[in-house]
Symmetry: C2
Subunit: 349 residues, 2 copies
């Protein structure tokens, strides 16, 4: 029997919370029978919702909270003023060892600020980053940072590369993940100072990292590398452009299939095959970005997801806890610090 | 009768040059009977190619050049060392008034460096930018900068906004184009210093610009605004991510239609409707990025395009020349300078 695992849920975060959160927990529990939940939020509403999901009867503990972090709260305001919120309490539960991971669909900036404050970064990591996996022609690619750091130094990017490597290896089970640094050309002379310097460090490193050099925006979906590293501004825009483009093409496709009787008939015949494709690019299937680099697992779900999407974010949290992600990350950064005492970019042989 | 218009072509630039360039000229000429060409490149090869395209017999003048700018030449090397190249000579022809515009599918960095050196920026514009239009749910959106400037100040971004506005108004015939500034969230507190400061200037400006505030990556394809402004690093990555995502989904779609006999049959029925969609997202249909902000029109074609794609880049050049793009740009920056004497970000009332 698999050992019981407890996940803390911010039941009040997200556009369709708390219904979507409880629904997501129920879906996740059906697939993962060893998962238990700590549900932080309005206990009266949560009790009413739980009554609709008998599958959750024996695996949920409600912990009442009154305070809610709003979508437009500033991170600093949330950090100071929302210490009794469902979001903060879910993170506290990870810190206190009550839960193996926390999942929230709430305000990203607030979640990052609180997670960083409560859990602290792993020794050797200056700044945490947000990471997720996206579909590619050959499988999936992890991208980081997705918005935690609008400006990044070469050192930050190098640390992101190591974090991404551990993520791809432990969570996605890629044996020797390849790492690419996003740039506006693959030539060494291209790009800003931070990416050029980071590439220099990664090329010289004695760490067992498969650095593939610079990649361009289209390399992400082509599956050129397992991990794509960039600053939080570029990464955030890139992810949203990809989502927007996928949505645009789906819309064009729908219009095409409706444009004539012949096309409608064609759609009916191809429907089962197309359903498969839809699953492959469904953003809900890739829901769950990780606040990476902290002493604890915090997963951010898309704010406007539904129960199915939220259940996938829970699955990501369970996966990370099961695979000992934090421990492996600590080991790798221990080694990185041994290789680079005093943050020296020159390798010590 | 429409007045004759002369376009200078760098016949040696691009993966499939010079065949693709001559083929593109022939396709363009079939649609635009008033277009004439100055063809810069290897005259022996060009003469042989022209023999295959009788439509070009009376509208092409070959100007022989020996030198070719290579794809991996550094911009500075090309600028100093390739003064007799087909690329440089095509730009020189615009400067000297022999051609209304130049089109090249060669090395982007070299093309920008040479164009800037030869044509100089319009008074009031510190740095030129690369701009193009991409398909959206409601029509098209212009994005700039696409890679000319890896780091941008708030002033640069404000100038890009004005350049984009003129482009959308004159070339895309949008009466009152709306301008969005790409950011990682639409709240005022988000983003790096340059975008926050640029947004402040654009909100206060007395220029007749419809500033829509911050937009996110997915707003581009959603068609939220007519012009999306960003730095060259982010813009380049965003454009390539969009292209990569479109390619990925096309691939998934192709696989789906091949996955069963039923799906194949469905494809055959829907094919005419799908062909229409393919045209809407075909990058060749959107080929032609403009080196914007200079005293002359230079259009960059995708390096790996074919004759059809190149003919579209020529059409963009003709459009811009016909609509008096440069003159309108000069007028707007004249007005900007009157509004902001000494580059004062505070509006003078």
């Amino acid at each position: 029997m698999t050992e019981k695992i407890v996940i803390a849920l911010d039941a009040m975060g997200g556009d369709a919370a708390p219904d979507m959160v409880v629904g997501g927990a129920a879906l996740a529990r059906r697939k993962l029978s060893h998962v238990h939940f700590l549900l932080f939020g309005d206990s009266a509403r949560l009790k009413a919702l739980l009554a609709k999901h008998p599958v959750l009867a024996d695996c949920v503990e409600i912990r009442h909270t009154d305070q809610v972090v709003k979508g437009d709260d500033k991170p600093s305001t949330a950090l100071r003023g929302a210490r009794e919120s469902s979001m903060r309490k879910a993170i506290d539960a990870v810190k206190e060892g009550d839960a193996a991971a926390a999942v929230s669909a709430g305000n990203t900036g607030a979640l990052m600020a609180m997670s960083k404050f409560v859990l602290k970064t792993i020794k050797g990591i200056d700044r945490p980053a947000i990471i997720t996996a996206v579909p590619t022609a050959t499988g999936s690619c992890c991208i980081l940072d997705l918005g935690a750091n609008v400006q990044c130094s070469a050192e930050n990017l190098v640390q992101f590369a190591v974090m991404g490597e551990v993520f791809a290896r432990t969570v996605l089970s890629v044996e020797k993940p390849t790492i690419g640094l996003i740039n506006i050309g693959i030539e060494e002379i291209k790009g800003n100072e931070a990416v050029k310097e980071a590439a220099g460090i990664l090329r010289e490193t004695t760490l067992p990292i498969e650095f593939a050099g610079f990649i361009e925006g289209n390399d992400i979906s082509a599956g050129t590398v397992d991990v794509a590293v960039t600053d939080g501004f570029t990464g955030n825009v890139a992810l949203k452009v990809a989502e927007g483009t996928a949505k645009l093409i789906s819309g064009f496709l729908r219009e095409s299939f409706r444009s004539s009787w012949r096309a409608r008939m064609g759609y009916l015949l191809a429907r089962p095959a197309l359903a498969l494709m839809r699953t492959r690019v469904d953003p809900r299937s890739y829901n769950g970005a990780i606040m990476c680099g902290l002493n604890g697992i915090v997963v951010k779900s898309h704010g406007n997801t539904d129960a199915f999407g939220f259940s996938n974010a829970i699955a990501v949290a369970v996966d990370m806890a099961t695979h000992g992600f934090i421990e492996k990350m600590r080991e790798d950064f221990e080694r990185l610090r041994a290789d680079y005492p005093a943050n020296d970019p020159e390798p010590v042989s």
